[in-house]
Symmetry: C2
Subunit: 306 residues, 2 copies
């Protein structure tokens, strides 16, 4: 049986996380950049996941991906241990420190995309080493729109690879501290200019609970975050945001500035659900109706002053 086509391919990590927050502690829960990004993207469009897990990945974890309708033709299962990360959030969740990172099966990961993935129109290179991002991009035949995310680790240890990749994508997403680290500039409008000069058409700076800013030749778009009464676990918020954005964009087909702005709004709303629980717990039960309802409430909060 031929695998059906996917609209969006996402490569990133699939991990087993241990998370400590001021209120709670969760051991060995499903996480990783690809997990969160696919979980939100798949609310909008047919999404294929590229990544690697060890044979230790619990059957329940894979069942979650199935529940989310994520296409798993690009997911490799190999002997060994799945990638593991543990982190602790400080008072008020505005700071976190990594307690441990074990690459495990990620160390020898060699992505090999199914034929149906190679012709997908949309590609999201979620946070993973820029060398792996490149190997995935190189296998795509003619992607219409490519986004990539990164993190401070790659800025520190693979800067050349990272900068080369930044020059090859349409949209770079990164958080404010990473934008500053990459450019040496504190002010975000100026940092964004420097990043745009590296080649991408758009730069999207994520500011967590303070929202996001999109910079491109067609201007700046500003979005505050959706105001939540309670944040349970911020892990994966940025991945869920970018995944939701790319899913919404892929669902629309052609990319226009207006569609990109709309996708940014939907990504923001999708991310607000991700942080309401640990792991993918809330996202697994997230319906398109709940998402659209919150998007309407959010639009009302933004529309008044415009």
């Amino acid at each position: 049986m031929a695998t059906p086509d996917v609209d969006l391919v996402v490569v990133g990590t699939i991990g087993i996380d241990t998370i400590i927050t001021p209120q709670a502690r969760r051991q060995e829960v499903l996480g990783g950049s690809a997990s969160f990004a696919c979980a939100t993207a798949s609310r909008f469009t047919r999404t294929g996941m590229v990544g690697v897990v060890g044979e230790d990945l619990p059957r329940a974890a894979r069942a979650r991906f199935d529940d989310l309708d994520i296409d798993l033709a690009g997911l490799q299962t190999v002997p060994g241990q799945t990638f593991r990360w543990s982190g602790e959030y400080m008072t008020n969740m505005d700071e976190r420190r990594t307690l441990a990172t074990e690459l495990n099966v990620l160390e020898d990961f060699n992505p090999d995309l199914p034929a149906t993935y190679r012709r997908a129109p949309f590609l999201f290179l979620a946070n993973i080493g820029p060398d792996l991002q490149r190997r995935v991009l190189d296998q795509m035949t003619q992607p219409r729109f490519v986004a990539m995310d990164t993190m401070d680790l790659w800025i520190n240890i693979q800067r050349d690879n990272l900068e080369e990749m930044i020059g090859r994508v349409d949209l770079l997403t990164l958080n404010e501290s990473e934008a500053r680290a990459l450019t040496g500039v504190h002010g975000l409008p100026v940092a964004a200019e420097r990043l745009l000069a590296m080649g991408p058409r758009y730069v999207l700076i994520k500011k967590g609970e303070h929202g996001s800013m999109l910079f491109g030749s067609d201007g700046i778009v500003l979005l505050p975050a959706y105001p939540l009464r309670e944040v349970v676990d911020p892990t994966g918020a940025g991945d869920a945001f970018a995944g939701g954005l790319m899913g919404a964009l892929a669902a629309g087909g052609e990319v226009t500035p207006q569609r990109l702005r709309q996708a940014m709004l939907l990504g923001t709303v999708a991310a607000s659900f991700a942080v309401e629980s640990f792991s993918l717990e809330r996202l697994v039960h997230l319906t398109r109706e709940a998402l659209d309802e919150r998007a309407a409430a959010y639009r009302a909060m933004l529309a008044g002053a415009v």
Copy 2:
């Protein structure tokens, strides 16, 4: 000659500031909550200033208020030294510490409003002791809309007075750390609920470079800050924001949720000019045209996703 009526009365401090930023140091420049609030309010509507200065206030400072078309019938000049404040901004301006505060003539300030002020429809109680805010409010005959601002000092030393005043106003403006200090709640939506329960119809939480959130029975309004390429001195930004908001609101006459939201946007834009220079330097030369032009650009940044 009878003093012409004013639409908006502002009470607050008029001070002589010494400011240290990572880039520069300015000694003895005009500052104070009433100065910044009146400077932006007067771009929109006829504004009267209530406050006190010492005989040492340089003639040039008073000339600035005249240049700004601020009505000074409520400004007392008394023997002694003007209120003085000095503060230092740390790296990247995201933190500041107060180096010195001298109340001077503020200690014995007894506001006595001109008759034309007492019948003004709009009142802004900018940051000053809640006892003084009360004495001003008590002299107003029937204000249509009253806003008040405060600061951590009054939360610490005059909490009862402060809470009584909060119960008497239509709009409470305060920054996020103050909202947390007053309620003991970290999350802003829940903190805002607690503050609304104290009596005001609206609570506006200011988040500096991260924008602001307005809470009221007609919903939540979210605004990011206007993105600036360079911030020279953040002093007075919150006062300029609230002053601009109240000026724009007073210019509109009747208060509706929609007009309040529009005023919030204009206050945000007005504040963005305040931080582009030390003291009132940029505001003194701010034309309504420049303000409207930036407001249009800002609306475009917000409108795309809605």
